[in-house]
Structure formats: C-alpha cells, structure tokens
C-alpha cells in the first residue's frame, strides 16, 4: 500500500464530495418514520398488515441482495422462508425451545438448505441456480407437507408460541410490531453495511464481470455461494418472525408461487436498489388485500404490473427518479 501512495504524493483533492446524509442516518430516519405506523393506522388489522409488510421486506431485501447485487436468480426464496419458519416453529412446538433460540436456528437451517443446493449448482457457469432452486423449492414443499409428525402436514403447524420479552408475551399484532420493526431494521442495516465493504463490492463485481473479478483475486464461486447462503439465512429469519407472530405455519405459504412473486417484487421495486424492496414489500402486502374479492385476478395483475414497470422503468419503481432525471436531461440537451 505504501508503495502506491508514496509515488502519488499527498492527496489533497482525493475525497469524493458526498452530498446529504450518511447511509446510516438515512436508514435511521426512515425507520423512525416507520415507528409511527402503529400510532397512525386505525386498528389491529392494519398493524397486522404492517407486520406482514416488514416480514416481506426482509424477504424481498434479502432476495434483492442475491439477485439485484449478486446477479443470481433463486426460485427457492419462499422455500428458505419456510425452512426458517418450520425450524423455529418445530423447535418450539416439538422441543419446547423458546422463539429466541429458534430465530438464529432458523437462519442457520435456511442457510444450510442453501449451501446444500448452492454447492453443486454454483459450480456450473450460467443460470443453473434458477433451475436447481426451482426443483429444490418443490422438494421442500413435499417435506413440509409430508413430514406430518414434525410439521403438522397440510393442516399446518399449530400452537407456536409468540416471542416474549422478560416473560411478557408479544402475542398481539401491536406488541409484535416493534420486534418486526427492529429485526427488519437490523437486516436492512446489515445489507447496507455489507454493500459498503470490499465484500459487497466483490459481490457486485462478480455479478457484473466474473472474468474481471477473478483476475483481481476474487473467488467467484465462493462469493456467489456466500451471498446465496446469506440471503437464504435472512429469509430464515423472516420465517422465524412469521411463525411466531402468526403462531402458525402451513405449506402453501412457502411454495413456488410465492417464490416467483418475491422475484417479481424485487424487480418491481427495483433490483439492485437499496430502498426498492420497501416498495416491493408494500405492493406485495397491499395488493392482495385490495384484490381480496378478485383472488383469481391477482397473479394476472401482478404479471401485468411487472410488464408495465419493467418496460417503462427497467430499474423498477425505485429507479423512476433517475429515469425521469435522465429524460429531462435528454430533453434539455
């Protein structure tokens, strides 16, 4: 390091000008604003939607880390969500472990689930991960459905305990909100931290140009595997939140259809943008509520929405300001 710096002399103008708030301050402000949600919304039903949106945010943000920044497509994200939910739920219901123990266990089990399929699939060049994970999610659903003794099978896993703090159970939506809020914040903070490091840069470098990244000493296989496992682990955390807040889990929540929907939400929010997943989570949570009466139309509308957004704004909803700015610049030029 000294050798390079010595030759270039003192660096007087070498810092890039930074505008506005630091990334930590921005995230903290957004989360402070979110803290107001339970005081603003009218009833418990709305708070339950807020909790669901925060869980969905963890799912979509972690998938965005893999897909938007890591350039890999996983069609098993809902499956890893399920692995986390069942791991945490089963440890609680069948083995009497507290949810707080289930939360890290959920991350580990989901991460292992990703490691198992990631090692063979990521050895191959190209988008084999998408195909392998599609099959993997299907297999996981079979496990969730068939291992009745553990998972409760198609009837679902019943009697899951809520999180509790100092013996005080977080058994209502309003009590669970601060937990979902805090965990979602920590996950977003972790992703932001990761991206602002050499590891985050190596993840993006591998996604952009694998050959170039390797020539600089980056092990592309290990980088891809690490981000895949990490992303699945975060989905596992979302699973643990989900199962203890709902106190119930059933297999259809974790199937291929939700896996595809999560991908769509990453794209709609804006793949590779940090706050895009918040828009994705909002839409993913709100639209089914609005369309309760037209359940059959839901998938079609999501598909249509995806087409419209991606054709007009290839970088997703979060990319709209930049796209408009570009348009204005071109007009002026």
């Amino acid at each position: 390091m000294a050798s390079i710096e010595a030759k270039t002399g003192p660096m007087t103008h070498s810092r890039l000008p930074r505008r506005g708030l630091s990334r930590h301050a921005r995230l903290a402000l957004v989360w402070l604003a979110l803290a107001a949600v339970p005081f603003v919304v009218p009833n418990a039903y709305w708070i339950s939607l807020a909790n669901l949106a925060l869980i969905n945010l963890v799912l979509i943000a972690s998938l965005n880390l893999l897909m938007g920044y890591g350039g890999q497509i996983s069609l098993a994200h809902a499956g890893f969500f399920g692995l986390g939910a069942y791991a945490s739920g089963i440890l609680n219901v069948r083995y009497g472990l507290p949810p707080w123990a289930g939360l890290p266990a959920a991350a580990v089990v989901a991460g292992l689930g990703a490691l198992l399929i990631g090692i063979p699939a990521l050895r191959l060049r190209g988008h084999y991960l998408a195909m392998a994970t599609l099959g993997w999610n299907a297999i996981l659903v079979v496990f969730f459905t068939q291992l009745v003794g553990l998972t409760g099978g198609p009837n679902g896993l019943l009697g899951v305990a809520p999180f509790s703090i100092f013996g005080h159970a977080l058994d209502t939506e309003a009590k669970a909100f601060p937990l979902a809020w805090a965990v979602a914040f920590l996950v977003m903070l972790a992703i932001s931290n990761l991206l602002a490091s050499r590891i985050g840069r190596s993840i993006r470098a591998v996604a952009t140009n694998e050959l170039g990244a390797q020539s600089l000493g980056i092990d592309s296989f290990r980088t891809k595997l690490a981000v895949f496992v990490l992303s699945a682990g975060m989905a596992g955390i979302a699973g643990s939140l989900y199962v203890h807040i709902n106190q119930y889990a059933s297999p259809e929540t974790f199937g291929i259809a939700p896996s595809i929907m999560l991908l769509v939400m990453v794209a709609i929010g804006g793949a590779g943008t940090f706050y895009g997943p918040m828009l994705g989570a909002l839409i993913y949570t709100a639209v089914p509520q609005i369309l309760l009466d037209y359940e059959d139309a839901e998938l079609m509308l999501f598909g249509l929405g995806l087409l419209v957004v991606l054709i007009l704004f290839p970088r997703g909803l979060a990319g709209i300001p930049a796209a408009l700015a570009g348009l204005v610049r071109r007009r002026r030029a």
């Binding site: 390079i4 710096e5 270039t8 660096m11 890039l16 931290n193 490091s197 993006r204 470098a205």
Partner: protein
C-alpha cells in the same frame, strides 16, 4: 508483499503445450521472464499468443508442460489464486465493471489488500470503515496518477475506450502485483494514446514492475521491450532483444508482407 523481490526468473514456462481438438495452438514452448524486465510476445495472427497468455493468466488449461511463478507451479491454480500470488492482468477486449463507478472499479482491485470478512462487514466493525477509507484513498490516488480522477464518480461504462484501457491498468496495479500481464495494451488506441500507454508501461517498469505483454503494435514492442519472444504456429522462432529479433531471417519470413517489423 513480504517476500523480497527475487533477482532471477520470476516466470518460467517449460514445455508448455495446448491442443484444441487436433489443433496445437502452443507447442512445447519454453521461456523465462526475468524479474524487472519487460518481455513481449509477438507473432502473426494465430501464432498462439493469446492461448499462451490465457494459460499464464489461468483462463485456459495447458495440455502439457509447466508454468512456474517465483519458483512454484501455478499451472493448476484458478485465476483468482494466481492473482493472490501476485499476477495481475489487463484484457484485450476489456473486462470492466461497467455499472460500477470508475473509483469502485479500482477499489475492487484493492480487494486482496483488504481484511474485512463477510461477518465483520455485516456488523460494520470500526476496522471495516477504516479499511474502506484507506482503499478509497489509494484508489483515488491511482486515478489521479492516471488522469482519471475527474471521472471517479462516473459509471465506468461511460468512459471512452482509451480511458477504459487506462482504468483497467490502474485496476490491475491496485493489486500491487509482482508480474503484470498486458494483453494487447495498445490495441484499438490511436497513435498518441498508444505512445502514452507505452510511456506509462516504461514508467512502471522503471519503478520495478515486471511486465509480460502480448502486442501487435510493433512500434510499441520494439521501443519498450528488453526481450522479445517471437511465436509462429505455436512455436518459438526467435527470442532476444529488438535488434536481434528484427534481423532474424525466420522472423522476416514470418512477417513477410507485414510492414510491422520496420516500424
């Protein structure tokens, strides 16, 4: 970084052979690159230069033979492990991280000099922030040295072709390599820029960098190289200084009709 610069041969190629489906691209080739020298590999199209380059860089696997870097076999190592040993490269057809900023491109080049792990990065322990600032300063200094500082914040994909070539060189240097592999550094550059590139390479070498380059631009090769290896049909037909190579009858016949040698 800790090992002292060896005074002898930094790169040794012994009996290197590469066959593709019956075609022998490189045939039983042996040569050495001494520490501190600029060595060029030239030859007509299809002589096997690119295949040789790719075998040294770790992109193509040799059919037979050995490549030793600083005395140790590297021919079975993947590309990233060779970079770790101290070999950095540029690409003929540019492998830039187009969507990342110019500064970030060079910062990726600092990857091997960083210590942050996935866990320490997730937690953002203080040393990670310090490492980031140091990497940014070093990368910025490199950009200043190569006249790209004003472009630091722009997407690398928005640079002109010549600037991308310079950026790739800066990125490779960010690794602080002991051997720099340059794949046609002048290709596609107008005269003035090619001359500037040659000047840059000469400066680097003066500061102690060992360089192995594959190049079509004879003017550059002849003016720059301490030692030139001439390939034809995957075999060595001559090796020596510019003066020696220029007069070699086989070189003249291989290049017959190409104006290049007189340049």
């Amino acid at each position: 970084m800790n090992t002292p610069r060896s005074t002898g041969d930094l790169l040794e190629v012994e009996g290197l052979t590469c066959r593709f489906a019956g075609v022998t691209a490189v045939d039983d080739l042996s040569f050495r690159v001494k520490a501190g020298e600029i060595k060029a590999v030239i030859g007509p199209n299809g002589a096997g230069k690119s295949t040789l380059f790719n075998m040294i860089a770790g992109v193509t696997r040799p059919t037979d033979g050995a490549i030793k870097f600083d005395g140790a076999r590297i021919d079975r190592l993947p590309t990233h492990a060779r970079a770790r040993r101290g070999i950095a490269r540029t690409f003929q057809n540019l492998q830039i991280f187009c969507e990342m900023s110019v500064l970030e491109n060079v910062m990726v080049g600092r990857h091997l000099r960083g210590r942050a792990t996935t866990l320490s990065a997730l937690l953002h322990i203080p040393s990670v922030g310090a490492e980031e600032r140091a990497m940014e300063a070093t990368a910025m200094a490199l950009l200043e040295r190569f006249g790209l500082a004003a472009k630091a914040g722009l997407p690398a994909g928005s640079l002109a072709f010549g600037q991308m070539k310079v950026l790739e060189l800066a990125r490779a240097l960010a690794c602080e390599p002991r051997l720099l592999l340059l794949d046609e550094p002048a290709a596609g550059l107008p005269h003035a820029e090619a001359d500037k590139m040659a000047e840059t390479i000469r400066d680097l070498n003066r500061d102690g960098m060992t360089v192995l380059l594959v190049e079509h631009n004879m003017r550059m090769v002849m003016s720059l190289s301490h030692d030139i290896l001439v390939l034809n049909n995957g075999r060595r037909i001559a090796e020596g200084t510019a003066e020696e190579v220029r007069r070699h009858p086989e070189v003249l016949s291989a290049y017959l009709g190409e104006e290049a040698v007189d340049a």
